[in-house]
Amino acid sequence: MSAGGPANAAGLRRDALRERLALFSLSLPALVLVVVTMVIPVAWLFWLSFLADDGSLSLVNYRRLVVQPSYGRILLTTFEVSGLATLICVVLGYPLAYVLSQLRPRVANLCMLGVLMPFWTSILVRTYAWLVLLQRNGLVNDWGKRLGLWEAPVSLVYNLPGTLVGLVHIMLPFLVLPLYGSMRAIDRDYLRAAANLGASPAAAFRQVFFPLSLPGLLAGSLIVFILCLGAYVTPAMLGGGRVIMVANGIATDIQMFFNWGAASALGVVLLVLAAAMLFIASRLTRLDRLFGSHGT
């Protein structure tokens, strides 16, 4: 313990750095797993998408996406379905999040269990439930007839409406959670002040509450839109072959045509779209809030 001064301080710093590196290395197993099973395979797909059938570098896979009308239709369907599903989620989710945010926290947490239930029931189970409910002799058709809404059974499934119902059901919690969080964070004194200054309830909502809830709403709808872009199970099961989205196109290219070039080009387009949306979302709000908010 005799040596003092700079040499000792440098030694301590070195030891501290060594310890921090050792601690950091605790994350290496997880890192290796993610790199080996995801980063490298996806990078490999990237590479494949730029190869022609004979193995030479080319843009032929991307040209096909533009030239072949079937791919154009797939992309159009994907945007259409994702946009519509997001819109319906906003229309249904905003009022729900609003009412939940007005409840006492205890009651709201209880209701949140209902919103969160989908998180622990399989997508497959929920999609199957809709299949059963919406089929020709299913519950919804039955009740519609009894209520006199329609005479003959209506096609509610294996088409676009069926797909939308299933998608909205799966995506709604992803909108409600961040939206609910941002609504809870709004300071109620602003509304009190608005009312004090003579604003009607409607005006106070329109001019004060709604603008303050916009960032949460935008972030939530972007997340829903991103997740919709990659949807596979719902369109495959409820679309009946009539609703082919990007993910379904990719799967078909692989499973039926073994066309890795086409599938990976479509996959890269999907990834770039999702990344762009995510970037916009990250500008609007803190992302960890979106993913971490269902911890409580």
Binding site: G114, R188, G230
Partner: protein, 270 residues
Amino acid sequence: MSWLGGPASETQITHRARLWLYVLAALVMAFLVLPTLIVIPMSFSASQYLEFPPRHWSLRWYANYFGSAVWMQATATSLKAGALTMLVATPLGTMAAYGLFVSRLRWARLVPALLLAPIVVPVILVGIGIFYAYVKLKLVNTLLGLVLAHSMLAVPLVLVVVSAALKSYDMSQERAARSLGASRPLAFLLVTLPQIRFAVISSAVLAFLTSFDEVVVAMFVSGGDNSTLTRAMFDALRDQIDPTIAAISTVMILISSLLVVLSQVFGRSR
């Protein structure tokens, strides 16, 4: 009723004036919760045609399910894959969360972003990418391959949940233990881990369910004797709406709910 005329919020709007809003919210809640639950009574129907309410009750679809060697094997595969995924992803994710939290290296900020990527990258892309890699590695249709893939999907969830718990944990307790002579691993095991126990248990449940409920990756990398339950269900549903699936769905809802409730109970008892 006086409650209806009372003020409902800071803007002095009455409950009566926004009764429509409550009704709408209740309907949306019903839309979220009921469709899944309706499968349960339907699974006890005696009819081919899944009526609600069932006119005659029976256990024939359960007999179908539990009597079928194929369904039982798929169920066993899913349970095994889920349990193994939990055993791989929970320690890996917890170690990563702890390591990244205490080391605070500036250049390592990219690591969490990389570890969270599996949440963001569309799962179909992950599915075909892994399929391509597994063909080369001869891991297609193996339990090992399935568990590795599902663990990769589950690690980010464990990371998010455990990191959140560490953020609200007072690290000086661990420092105190170490200044009293405990080694770092011992201090972590005896002081820190018991306090973030709830997060670790819920993330373990999350990891199990991630694997148990997963469809897309399983579709590409599981098959033959190692088909998962979800894959077998997905394939079966392509042909027809088999009521046996209602029985399986009910069992799946039961397993998931049981796990979630158990993890909540464990958390409350601290």
